[in-house]
Amino acid sequence: MNHGFFKGNLVDLVPMDLDKDPEILSKWDRDSEFKRQFDVVPAVMYSPILSKEWYEAASANGATMIIQTTKEKKVIGIIELDGFDWAARSAWVGIGIGEADYRGKGYGTEAMQLILEYAFQGLNLNRVNLNVFAFNTRAIRSYEKCGFRYEGTQREVIYKEDQRWDVIDMGILRSEWEERQKIWEREPLELVQAAS
């Protein structure tokens, strides 16, 4: 039987609706807290047209998907897997939950679990990397829940609010992810649901 990817209990990962979604991405830009956690460069605002172009450029080099709730089909965030090294079989993941009401409730964690399944089972990767700002403790907790391990701290990478901020490197290996599947098989999504 053919096993499809990208389908979860709380969220699905779907391609962007190029007519409707750029408007939503553009709206998220008004949330400076979101912008500051999503990227290291100065927070800027994109018009819907530029959001669309950004998505198309990102899609050319990697897998960029929209995070959509399974029930109401609401677009709540974006996730991407890119920066592939096919010799080392590794890639980088980035995620952002643009809809503030959906943060800290397990939606992002499930989206990350879905993209890890795609990375390891679909693309045969050996490793997935990510960077996270040291002040983003909610994201760090979510990544740990997904099995990412702390691999070090890059000191004073970011300069904002007249202060220097660290960036944390995290990574998960295929072997670690496989080990965790055994835990999830026993008690699959209750953990995630309980948080919401």
Binding site: V40, E151, G152, T153, R155
Partner: protein, 191 residues
């Protein structure tokens, strides 16, 4: 202003990379996976002189437009021979933070010139690009480079497990970083 030359050292100097003159030599470096991986983004293969010329022209044009990359050819003072490349990339001026790469074409040049080239690179990074932080990644098997950067005051900050595949095996990738106050402190101690 301190007018100590930025580009002229005792035994080496920096110049622009010249796509016309340097392409043939750089093409010969593409047998090294480390060189290709760091400078040509794509997968590891050899590149002809014509391809190198085209790629370098594109890179230099993009660097000039975006100001997010700076390339220098490292040349011997005696013979003008190009022995390596210095590249500053991932430059985030608002964060005063950047990454860089220092590549030498052969072991002999590395042994002779790497300390001096790195010293010049750091002065350019902190005193001309006015950075606060400079970092690079190194594979864990490259013990000589690790010693070079540790000698210059870099600290090992992260260790990404199995992030590099080299000669049939996985190795860890290390991030090394240095901050301007740390670099400045070392300059005082040297004098």
């Amino acid at each position: 202003m301190n007018n100590q030359p930025l580009f002229q050292g005792k035994s080496i100097h920096f110049t622009a990379v010249d796509p016309e003159k340097d392409a043939a030599l750089i093409s010969s470096w593409t047998s090294s996976p480390e060189f290709v991986k760091r400078y040509f983004d794509g997968f590891f293969r050899t590149y002809t002189t014509v391809e190198v010329k085209k790629l370098i022209k594109e890179k230099l044009k993009k660097a000039d437009e975006s100001r997010q990359d700076y390339y220098f050819a490292i040349r011997e003072n005696a013979e003008e021979r190009m022995i390596g490349i210095l590249h500053f990339g991932w430059i985030m001026l608002s964060n005063q933070s950047a990454g860089f790469d220092l590549y030498f074409s052969d072991h002999d040049s590395f042994e002779k010139y790497s300390d001096e080239a790195l010293k010049m690179a750091l002065r350019y990074a902190f005193m001309e690009l006015s950075l606060h932080r400079l970092c690079l990644t190194l594979p864990s098997y490259d013990e000589e480079s690790i010693l070079l950067f540790e000698r210059a005051g870099f600290l090992r900050e992260t260790q990404s497990r199995q992030a590099v595949f080299y000669n049939g095996k996985f190795y860890d990738q290390l991030t090394y970083g240095i901050l301007r106050p740390e670099w400045k402190k070392l300059q005082v101690e040297v004098q």
